[in-house]
Amino acid sequence: MATRGFSGRGRTPSGQDRLPPGQYTTADFPVLSLGPTPRVSLDTWRFTLRVGPKPVKQWTWDEFNRLPMTGVTQDIHCVTKWSKYDTAWEGVSIDDLLADAGLDAPTPWVLAHSFDDYTTNVPFADLAGGRGMVALRYAGQPIDADHGGPARLLVPHLYFWKSAKWVNGLQFTQQDVAGFWELRGYHMYGDPWREQRYSGD
């Protein structure tokens, strides 16, 4: 249905093919979180890889920073409608993380965990092959706490709630387990190009 009087002055003709439906671009980096920004000390920071309930590998901050670092520059898309082009991240790819743990993906499903008890599910296929990382730096600097620092998951081809802030672990699960927002009406997969915002989309 066309809206009376609306012509749309926000469109950016050259960028339409890189802007998913219903999104608009912003130069800012808005912050969305469900609660207070957690106070995470690097001294006690740990990242844990689990298979089901069982921890199979844990890294301290120093150990994690000695893993191979990968840089990516990607567009990101938030379900609240903003998109930001060309965000530059540096971190440890999930491929390198699993290689360091000597682990082959035991199941196709991953649940990411965070220091604030946030969780979100991402299929392993969307983390492997260089598609996902645990990011430690944004735009050449350590990631601000507001934006998920010291470390956040980065899965830029899915809506950004999948890129869990303050991430402290990945867990392989026996089935696709809904995380925090997925339990509250948001889509299990979250592909911006198919506009999978809410369950049923």
Binding site: R9, Q23, V31, S33, L34, G185
Partner: protein, 244 residues
């Protein structure tokens, strides 16, 4: 429990437009299928140009769940806001606008969730909190509710007159502050929401079940940090950040 979202787009009719503050208007919609929602949830709005280009935004519901037949969205005019300026400059009573929702299942409260509850809103961050306050009043609940609100000047304080009236029930308490002018009436304070103010609020309500904080990111960040410093556990603080 939070109602299952209605995800289909509905064509809503603008039933009334109210100027709430110099920068914020309230848009009252009637929907073919009135949505069952919980206070704190939002609706998505979709504008479509004749060539198919569309713009979407989320806006918090200001009205009470008891009145699903008339949904109020309060929309602040943002600098360069494609959608907000369309609402402020073009939309008229009788227009048809596409909406879907309710959406959001975390920043929500109903009297069944219990209390006491503390609501802290900066500027237009009061909108979802007002839905909770109106719900509380519509249900004639005895749960203690305190609303701490701040805006630049007294005319920027959203729904101030209604909040003042609601205090008469004795269980709803309003603490309002203006940040950029001297308070002109005795029930308004001057200055930002700071530690002494929140300390006083928590002295009067020592063990809030949930604290809801809504506003700009700097506002929410500052208030949430103060609450943590004052001993409120992180699990009891729910935030919603506007802007960007």
């Amino acid at each position: 429990m939070v109602p299952t979202p209605k995800r289909q787009w509905q064509v809503a009719r603008v039933a009334a437009i109210e100027t709430l503050t110099p920068r914020i208007k309230g848009f009252h919609f009637t929907l073919p299928e009135p949505p069952a929602f919980t206070a704190g949830q939002h609706m998505d709005v979709r504008l479509v140009a004749p060539d198919g280009y569309e713009a979407q935004r989320s806006y918090s519901i200001a009205s009470a769940p008891e009145r699903p037949d008339r949904i109020e969205l309060a929309i602040e005019r943002l600098e360069d806001g494609e959608v907000s300026s369309f609402f402020h400059d073009v939309v008229q009573v009788g227009d048809e606008i596409e909406l879907r929702g309710p959406l959001g299942g975390h920043f929500v409260w109903s009297v069944e969730d219990g209390g006491p509850i503390l609501l802290i809103g900066g500027g237009s961050g009061v909108v979802p909190l007002m839905s909770m306050v109106r719900h509380h009043a519509a249900r004639a609940s005895s749960i203690p509710v305190t609303l701490v609100t701040s805006a630049r000047t007294a005319v920027d304080l959203l729904y101030l007159d209604e909040q003042r009236r609601l205090q008469a029930n004795g269980v709803f308490r309003l603490v309002a502050r203006v940040t950029r002018e001297a308070a002109a009436t005795p029930d308004l304070g001057s200055g930002r929401i700071d530690r002494p103010l929140l300390q006083g609020v928590l002295d009067a309500m020592p063990d809030p079940r949930i604290v809801f904080v809504c506003g700009s990111n700097p506002f929410v960040g500052t208030v949430a940090d103060l609450l943590l410093d004052l001993g409120v556990t992180a699990g009891r603080i729910r935030t919603e950040r506007f802007g960007g």
